[in-house]
Amino acid sequence: MQTNFTEDQLKDPAIQRANDILRACVHCGFCTATCPTYQILGDELDSPRGRIYLIKDMLENERVPDEKTVMHIDRCLSCLACMTTCPSGVHYMHLIDHAREYIEQNYKRPMGERFLRWMLARILPHPMRFRLALLGAKIGRPFAFLLPDARLRAMLEMAPKHIPPVSRNDDPQSFPAQIAPRMRVALMTGCAQKALNTDINDATIRLLTRLGCEVVVAQGAGCCGALTHHMGKVSESDASAMGNIRAWCTEMDGEGLDAIVINTSGCGTTVKDYGHRFRGETYAKDAARVADIAMDVSEVLMKLEMPQGSDQRLTVAYHAACSLQHGQQIKTFPKDLLRRAGFRVVEPADSHLCCGSAGTYNLMQPVISKQLKARKVSTIEAKNPDVIAAGNIGCMMQIGSGTDIPIVHTVELLDWASGGPKPPALTGDTGARVPQVPILR
């Protein structure tokens, strides 16, 4: 596509990158077909092609973003289904991130909106604050009707009924391999996930150590920065990312790491992009080193060659998280692993479509998010599964709030099939439990 940046504008590496992305786009419109918001709204402006147009116009003319442009950009889930679809390899993710940053810097949102975003950015990436907020929400839920903003009400409704106690397994430490060590890996314990569900990290640690990994929780690693990144809050996001890079590089330079294991695919997409984000900066080399060994837990498990399990007599509906299938292009591994472990695996129709969770999207865009949830739940339920498996906490919360079918993380099933405890969601025991982990230091 033709672009109209001036020589001067193109001196800015960020604009140069945007120009390269835009030049690759041929405006064919294929992306509209798999864009969840276009499916629902039917407006070009709510499709990747339309957003690319809005962004192009905004950046070329260095325009102050207007309300409508912001609305359409905000409606993007960043599910990246368009990148899977695009025949021309347009890197939409970098473009929309750029636009979000530009909007954050050049657009003054209404007061309530700014407060909401400020609050989310202050709370979500910090597990302790988030846990407090969840407890507060639990108490505040009966008063939800008093809130003026539909989104605030949505947040209260979204808060889970059971909030697990802090898991000490998520503290910095090292878990030795149960058999002859094959790999030394760092587990990214995350932020929001460990406040909402401690079973996932526990299961991951059990499974990896059982298969011969020494699992390290690195001192100083925390939130990947995705939540703030998608709000365009660059400085907060960069600070989180740099903290991680420092923490993992220390481990890499110390006893060494074969992989950084991530079991929340939204974070995986972000960490794998660290190299690009910090290109040309002081941290570039370290950021790239981290990105190079960042892996989704399913990738590591494929390397470890899980043992073949016996028939579990259980039908698992695998929900492909967008960050996994589109962001990281990991499509078959989780299904292969589940089958290998002995589960019958089914997939809902339109598996490429987002469930509407998308980071903070379900909080910021509750109307569209609810429609996407309803679609996803109905396509999953049509397959009559015993359990739903997903590789991302956001999807688990979102889908779980719309169906009675239990939903678990893929690793919980894999752990169970290879000798671990039955996932709490399947035993009906969703209350507070003492986490079971082989060895605690």
Partner: protein
């Protein structure tokens, strides 16, 4: 590209028109801010652009009728739009026009396996029509390359084809009926679940009329049972002429493949660099796919490979598995994207008699040297439908004009050797001014007379298909 001068009174009445349209449509279904309308300034042909007066996104036939009635009364040109994937600029607006997008209308209305048809709203995408019946073993046959995204509305407007139309035909051969809203808002049914017209075949002329006769809101489409299997074979040649002769002999031998695709060297190289499908580096590549029962497939492939071997191929690879089939098709399906990696491209779709293939390819490569623009050819060889992709740099002043001139020369050549300007993309804006190279004034006149009957005020997509000079008196009525 010359466009008519916008009607000043329409521009002056914008507020009233938008207010009236907003009154008959739900909130958010009328866009009139330039910030928003700009995204509708073109379709997949980005060389020509013009933001419309407004965009409307109706959700039902009734809403379409209400919109058209208002536009009829106000004398506003209407540009129907499906998914905006036209490579011919079929949905290019004018400044005084209302773009009528049907994307919100994407429901399946009825599926009838006993009588083998499906009825859908026209905004539904081509692939999702098949998607709706796939689980029961059926499919909708026309498969344009953009089938993932393109709407049935646009398929009907352009009478779209696809890779498999050698066996299954194009849209018109698979369309049983439509609900169409006339420019004055009247809703009319044409055809239905039964076959053939009871009088004049008006459905036949609606299909391919590029949105100039009415706005199709619902369509009844023929669905077919999926064949038991399909398998492609890949054959590489060192000579275009030999590849062409091979195609001709296969057809003469009584084998009817469902698809015969042809790629030339520049395209093969670009595709390999992009998708890495493992194609041989040769002058011409054929992908021939056959379908049917296992016996049918074996018998057809045996004949095809026998004929191909007699033509000394540099490579002959028969698919033995689904994975191999996918790999053989991978490069072909990535061809457009691959060429797009190299530079901007303009995609033509002239059709030629298959026998003229070697001559036309030779002439194109000579012209490529004369114009100094690279070109790659992908080609539905079974039916002579070419897809030359001319590479140019949209950011380089003068390159587009050079590309246009080159494209026009290629299309004139197609007509000269007994072919036509467009095989499946439609005339749109892109080939409008070349129509006089294919048709005499009387031939164009009788076509325009048909539009006179359906749309006497010439408000529907008026600046397309017919050269402006030819349609001027009609448009200024």
């Amino acid at each position: 590209m010359q466009m008519p001068i916008p009607n000043p009174s329409v521009l002056a009445n914008k507020h009233r028109i938008v207010r009236r349209l907003s009154a008959v449509l739900p909130k958010g279904s009328v866009l009139d801010d330039l910030m928003e309308t700009r995204a509708y300034e073109c379709d997949a042909l980005t060389a020509y652009r013009c933001a419309p007066l407004a965009v409307v996104l109706p959700a039902s036939t009734k809403e379409v009728a209400a919109v058209l009635r208002i536009c009829f009364e106000e004398g506003v040109p209407v540009i129907p739009r499906g998914s905006g994937t036209s490579l011919a600029g079929g949905a290019l607006p004018t400044a005084d026009s209302v773009v009528l997008g049907v994307a919100k209308m994407n429901d399946v209305i009825e599926v009838d396996y006993e009588n083998r048809f499906i009825r859908v709203q026209s905004g539904r995408t081509n692939l999702s029509v098949s998607g709706a019946v796939e689980a029961d073993g059926f499919f909708y046959a026309p498969d344009p390359s953009s089938q993932l995204a393109c709407a049935i509305a646009g398929n009907i407007a352009m009478n779209s084809g696809g890779a498999h139309c050698l066996k299954y035909g194009v849209t018109t051969n698979n369309l049983l009926g439509v609900t169409m809203v006339m420019m004055d808002g009247e809703i009319v049914e044409f055809g239905g679940a039964h076959l053939d017209a009871g009088g004049l075949d008006l459905l036949g002329i609606i299909c391919g009329s590029e949105g100039q006769l009415g706005v199709v809101t619902e369509a009844t489409l023929r669905i077919l049972r999926k064949p038991e299997g399909a398998r492609p074979v890949l054959i590489g040649f060192d000579d275009n002429e030999v590849a062409g002769a091979c195609v001709s002999e296969i057809i003469k031998a009584g084998v009817l493949p469902v698809a015969i695709e042809f790629m030339d060297r520049p395209c093969i190289r670009a595709t390999e660099a992009f998708a890495g499908a493992g194609y041989p580096d040769c002058e011409a590549l054929l992908i021939i796919e056959v379908e049917g029962s296992p016996q049918e497939i074996d018998a057809q492939l045996a004949r095809i490979t026998e004929i191909a071997r007699a033509h000394n191929p540099v490579e002959l690879r028969e698919s033995k598995s689904d994975e191999e089939s996918a790999r053989i098709w991978l490069g072909r399906k990535s061809a457009f994207g691959a060429m797009g990696q190299i530079n901007d491209y303009m995609c033509l779709d002239g059709t030629i008699p298959v026998s003229q293939l070697p001559l036309v390819l030779r002439r194109i490569s000579e012209m490529s040297a004369e114009y100094g623009l690279d070109v790659g050819n992908v080609f539905h060889a079974g039916d002579g439908n070419m897809h030359p992709l001319i590479l140019f740099d949209a950011n380089k002043p003068g390159d587009l004009e050079k590309c246009e001139a080159f494209g026009a020369d290629i299309l004139r050549l197609c007509v000269e050797v007994g072919g036509c300007l467009t095989g499946e993309h439609g005339v749109g804006i892109e080939k409008r001014d070349l129509m006089i190279d294919q048709y005499a004034p009387d031939d164009l006149n009788i076509q325009m007379a048909v539009k006179d009957v359906f749309d006497p005020k010439w408000l529907l997509n008026p600046a397309k298909v017919f050269p402006l000079a030819s349609s001027e008196t009609r448009r200024s009525v």
